[in-house]
């Protein structure tokens, strides 16, 4: 399975990838994207099976990326990993078609709760 991790922070991308491994999802190909625009392009180029995306990013935010993907006909499974975990943000994410929202700070259990059933 191929997972695309989108975050404008390189440090946070490393932490997300590390947490995926700690949560037991250690046998997957990882592709990194540095903002929403890059994620949009890489979904089309790399055809990942899942996108884990930050919300606030320069150039294109995570939610703009999700909306653009759905408009372009992509139905790639998409979840947020963001420091904004309020009920309002969760509702916005769900309405745009996100499968889940993992709030930062997270740990391997937050990943397992969100990803069990999504990652084979």
């Amino acid at each position: 399975m191929k997972i695309l991790v989108a975050d404008d922070s390189r440090v946070m991308r490393q932490i997300v990838i590390r947490t995926l491994r700690q949560a037991g999802y250690d046998d997957h190909d990882i592709v990194e994207a540095e903002d929403g625009r890059d994620a949009y392009d890489k979904v089309h180029a790399e055809k990942p099976d899942l996108v884990l995306s930050d919300w606030n990013m320069p150039n294109m935010t995570g939610i703009e990326c999700l909306e653009a993907l759905r408009s372009s006909g992509s139905s790639v499974p998409f979840g947020f990993v963001t420091s904004e975990g309020s009920a309002e943000m969760r509702e916005k994410a769900a309405n745009a078609g996100a499968l889940f929202l993992i709030a930062k700070p997270f740990n391997e259990d937050s990943f397992k709760d969100a990803l069990d059933g999504v990652i084979a």
Binding site: E84, G85, P105
Partner: protein
């Protein structure tokens, strides 16, 4: 309309709790923030995120430059290069401010927007009553987290500011 100042919306223990969760998850499970003040060294680094909404201001993290480097190594763990570059340190410190700021935003009145993390000289604080500062020690080194209202009369509607600045013809 007057929006309450930060000290009426939040207390220091909530900020401390948010920061402790961020430290435990990002810096390391065994890493603790001891709620004790310490004197910041002369050379410091600050990172912050802005919040714009019913309450407008910034969440600022400040620590010594050595502490910032150690935090970066803790976040990157085995991926930390032998020589850290300034970009890594800015990225790591900015992300800590982002996580703390996002969670502070979640307990403030909404709707509000969170800005992208910035690193450098933080924005000037507004009134003392609209500033809440928490000091802590990490591995014995001091750091501070300040939730501070924007400079100027708190939450003055933009239309009033324009009128005040208007030059009569």
């Amino acid at each position: 309309m007057t929006t309450p100042v930060i000290t009426a919306l939040l207390d220091g223990s909530t900020i401390q709790e948010i920061a402790e969760q961020a430290w435990s998850a990002l810096v390391g499970e065994e890493e603790v923030l001891v709620p004790l003040p310490g004197e910041l060294p002369a050379a410091t680094l600050s990172s912050w995120v802005g919040i714009a909404g019913p309450w407008t201001g910034s969440v600022v993290l400040t620590c010594g430059t050595d502490t910032a480097e150690q935090l970066t190594r803790a976040l990157l763990r085995e991926h930390a290069p032998e020589e850290l570059d300034a970009e890594d340190v800015s990225d790591a410190l900015g992300e800590l401010a982002n996580v703390v700021g996002g969670n502070v935003k979640a307990v403030l009145p909404g709707p509000a927007a969170l800005g992208l993390p910035e690193v450098g000289t933080p924005p000037a604080a507004g009134q003392p009553a609209d500033t809440l500062r928490v000091d802590a020690l990490w591995r014995g080194q001091p750091l501070s987290i300040t939730v501070q209202g924007a400079l100027g009369p708190p939450h003055t509607p933009a239309s009033d500011i324009e009128e005040e600045n208007e030059v009569p013809l």
